[in-house]
């Protein structure tokens, strides 16, 4: 057995191209995610939203609103005075996101994110104006105090995760990415499985004539691919924590445990697809790609909201989808501090792995060939 493991390990490690891409893919993706959806990308996103200011009158209160908007010019807004006609043309052409009128109204053409921010600015002004008007009428002696308090606007909420720890919301994408990396352990696993099938590869044919039992060979191959995949996932995790400086809290031990079970299910998936049917390697890889992408999508890699919809309408999918279970395990560890659900997630992953590996054993046991 050790002999088989040793040479399988050497064979795999010497395939430098495969080893490189198995590690490079999740690292490159984590870098892309870091720059596109990570915290750093939001720091310079909402700057200088182009908007027009149309003056409709000369009332003093209109000028106050104009001055309020001017205070954001060059920071959140890129404000340009225009006539109404020019402003409507610019809005129609998409050169601006909205038209402020100095009678305290706003015209927009869509309901996207940038117009929502303009609406927030208007809303804030209108509310504060109403508040100060009320105070000026009812308690004019406290007006300076009111203005001072408005200027001292502060955050009144403090996010605390249920387990006492906070979590950057963008980390959910990275959890999904780690889940995807674990599942991608299916590809080296399917390759090793193909190499044990005599009818699918010449190496498999040669191995079949040896006295070494099929189960022993499969176990040795499975162990090697699992260890290598686990090492890859660990390296990706370390890269995210120490290079990208993502804040996973102090739960690295727990995260490593989750990665161990995640890598197990990934390899098991590859083993069972490799053992099934007489299709070519390309066909099986195609099936695996479809399965992995489908599972990762349903696990929230591309659209986080999909998990909520699935929970509402078909919750069983979230219970058996390995990508979703891996993500949930990370949440249980880092956010919810729920060891019971974490244990259930890991037990589900382990149970599914045992099921898949058992199925693959049943498919290939006692296979004999009349002629090769």
């Amino acid at each position: 057995m050790m002999h088989l493991i040793k040479y399988r390990l050497l064979q795999t490690l010497r395939d430098k191209t495969t080893m490189f891409w198995a590690l490079a893919f999740p690292i490159i993706m984590s870098v892309f995610f870091y720059f596109s959806i990570g915290k750093s990308s939001f720091e310079d996103t909402f700057k200088e939203i182009p908007a027009a200011l149309v003056e409709t009158g000369t009332e003093e209160e209109n000028k106050v609103f104009s001055k309020y908007l001017d205070s954001f010019d060059g920071q959140l807004l890129k404000l340009e005075p225009m006539s109404e006609e020019e402003a409507l043309t610019a809005l129609n052409e998409g050169r601006i996101e909205g038209i402020f009128y100095d009678d305290r109204s706003l015209s927009v053409s869509t309901n996207g994110i940038l117009p929502s921010i303009l609406e927030t600015l208007l809303d804030s002004y209108v509310k504060n104006e109403a508040m100060l008007t009320t105070i000026a009428n009812e308690h004019p002696e406290r007006l300076p105090q009111a203005v001072q308090t408005i200027q001292a606007y502060s955050e009144m909420t403090e996010e605390v995760a249920v387990g006492g720890k906070t979590l950057d919301t963008s980390l959910s994408f990275f959890f999904a990415l780690i889940g995807m990396t674990c599942l991608y352990g299916c590809f080296p696993a399917i390759q090793t499985m193909m190499e044990t099938r005599a009818n699918l590869s010449p190496l498999g044919a040669r191995q079949c004539v040896t006295p070494t039992g099929k189960m022993k060979r499969i176990c040795a191959n499975f162990l090697v691919t699992y260890l290598i995949q686990l090492a890859n996932v660990m390296l990706v995790l370390c890269f995210m924590k120490y290079v990208l400086r993502l804040d996973f809290g102090n739960q690295m031990g727990g995260m490593i445990l989750i990665c161990m079970f995640g890598s197990l299910i990934g390899n098991s998936l590859g083993i069972v697809v490799g053992a099934s049917g007489k299709w070519s390697e390309a066909a099986k890889i195609g099936v695996l790609i479809g399965i992995c992408m489908g599972l990762c999508f349903l696990g929230g890699l591309m659209t986080p909201d999909i998990r909520t919809y699935i929970e509402l309408y078909v919750p069983i999918i979230n219970r058996i989808n390995p990508a979703a279970i891996i993500s949930d395990a990370f949440y249980c560890l880092n956010v919810f501090d729920d060891s019971e659900k974490l244990t259930r997630c890991l037990a589900t992953l382990a149970g599914m792995s045992v099921l898949l590996v058992s199925a693959s054993f049943l498919m290939v046991r006692r296979e004999r060939y009349d002629s090769l």
């Binding site: 750093s40 998409g94 053409s109 117009p115 809303d123 109403a130 406290r142 009144m156 995760a161 956010v335």
Partner: protein, 386 residues
């Protein structure tokens, strides 16, 4: 046209794979569009979400805040134990939990104490709820500091929440300001086409690039350029076929909506050109990658990476300016820019038309660059010593 026939034979043998990928990726696109369209409709107006308010304080302030949140969201009753909150968030019964502890009113008015909240990690609506609570409590604070009693301050703050600015949503595209739904679906198209072509076309290319096949073809009377051109032609036909199937799906899903859109020809042009860019990328990948086991990783890196940087998953509005400076080099960025523009505006100004033609040109230039690099590498591989 022997080489052409050879390529088409391989395409025919792999056609079931193409159909499988199309089914999976288009299914993903339809589901993503369904999820994103709901988000787009609600992003401007405040959408009601399921929240939980654990009110341990019986003060006027706590009641006022509770009533305010109940008016705009769906308050779900859950237990106040840690396990109940864990379950409610884990099973997504609620997206947001706020706890108003006992004695909060005094602590807030005297010390400005903050409320503890817990959110579903992937929820975007929770950010709006934070802003709503902040605005309400700051309003109460202003009134209280201005000499009002707590009851009066809460009453005034609650009335104030009903005051909003006058906002007009101009209907420029005949769709009440919403993006066309097929534009949301087509936002996902670059990922579909790069993944499918990368996994099928590149695999076919790799077959023709294997050493023995290359050596045999090098001995033939057909010139290298002719071989490459026939190969490119065959793969172009395949790509256009896949594009056609996707457009057919758009017609099935959106019917008259798409047919009656005044920008439909621009949409068709945009999707066709990105298809050609994806083909060129797949051609280059097929020339560079030698092992099939590596192909999946390379294609996924290119497809997922490019699409996440260029606005296929997260809207372009959400990408940082620094990210956009880099992603402008990729054809997917220009595809998404044009797709958003065409989905938002029915009438296209001169500037918009110029942007459209510019976007087309950049995508085609990228495709040609990939193609030329692939052909150069192909020639170099032929000349290498073996």
């Amino acid at each position: 046209m022997t080489v052409f026939k050879g390529y088409m034979t391989l395409v025919k043998r792999n056609f079931h794979m193409v159909l499988m990928y199309l089914g999976i990726f288009l299914g993903i696109a339809v589901l993503t569009q369904t999820a994103n369209s709901k988000k787009t409709e609600d992003s401007y107006e405040t959408a009601a979400v399921n929240i939980a308010v654990i009110k341990e304080d019986d003060s006027r302030l706590a009641d006022g805040l509770y009533d305010y949140l109940a008016e705009i969201h769906n308050i779900v009753s859950i237990g106040d134990e840690k396990k109940d909150i864990q379950d409610a968030l884990y099973y997504r019964y609620v997206e947001y939990v706020v706890i108003i502890p006992q004695g909060y009113q005094e602590k807030f008015l005297n010390d400005g104490a903050k409320l503890q909240t817990s959110k579903l990690p992937q929820s975007e609506s929770s950010q709006y709820i934070d802003a709503q609570i902040n605005n309400y409590l700051n309003g109460v604070n202003v009134y209280y500091q201005s000499g009002y009693s707590v009851e009066e301050a809460v009453e005034r703050a609650s009335e104030q929440t009903k005051i909003t600015g006058e906002i007009k949503l101009l209907d420029q595209n005949g769709n009440a300001g919403q993006r066309e739904p097929f534009a949301e679906f087509l936002r996902f198209y670059p990922y579909i086409i790069i993944a499918i072509l990368g996994l099928t076309v590149a695999r076919i290319m790799m077959r023709f690039r294997s050493k023995r096949i290359r050596q045999r073809m090098a001995c033939s009377a057909v010139s290298l350029s002719r071989q490459n051109m026939e190969g490119v032609l065959a793969l172009c036909i395949t790509s256009v076929g896949i594009w056609g199937i996707t457009i057919l799906l758009v017609l099935i899903l959106y019917g008259n909506r798409f047919v009656l859109s005044p920008n439909k020809w621009y949409f068709l042009g945009n999707t066709l050109i990105i298809t050609l860019s994806a083909l060129a990328m797949s051609f280059l990948i097929g020339v560079l990658v030698k092992k099939e086991t590596v192909l999946t990783s390379v294609v996924n890196t290119v497809a997922l990476g490019m699409c996440s940087l260029c606005g296929a998953f997260a809207p372009l509005d959400l990408l940082g300016n620094n990210v956009k400076r880099v992603s402008q080099f990729f054809p997917v960025y220009w595809y998404e820019l044009l797709n958003d523009m065409l989905g938002q505006f029915h009438e296209l100004s001169e500037d918009m038309l110029q942007t459209i033609w510019k976007g087309y040109a950049i995508q085609l230039a990228f495709a040609l660059a990939c193609l030329f690099v692939a052909l150069a590498i192909s020639k170099a591989q032929r000349q290498e010593k073996e």
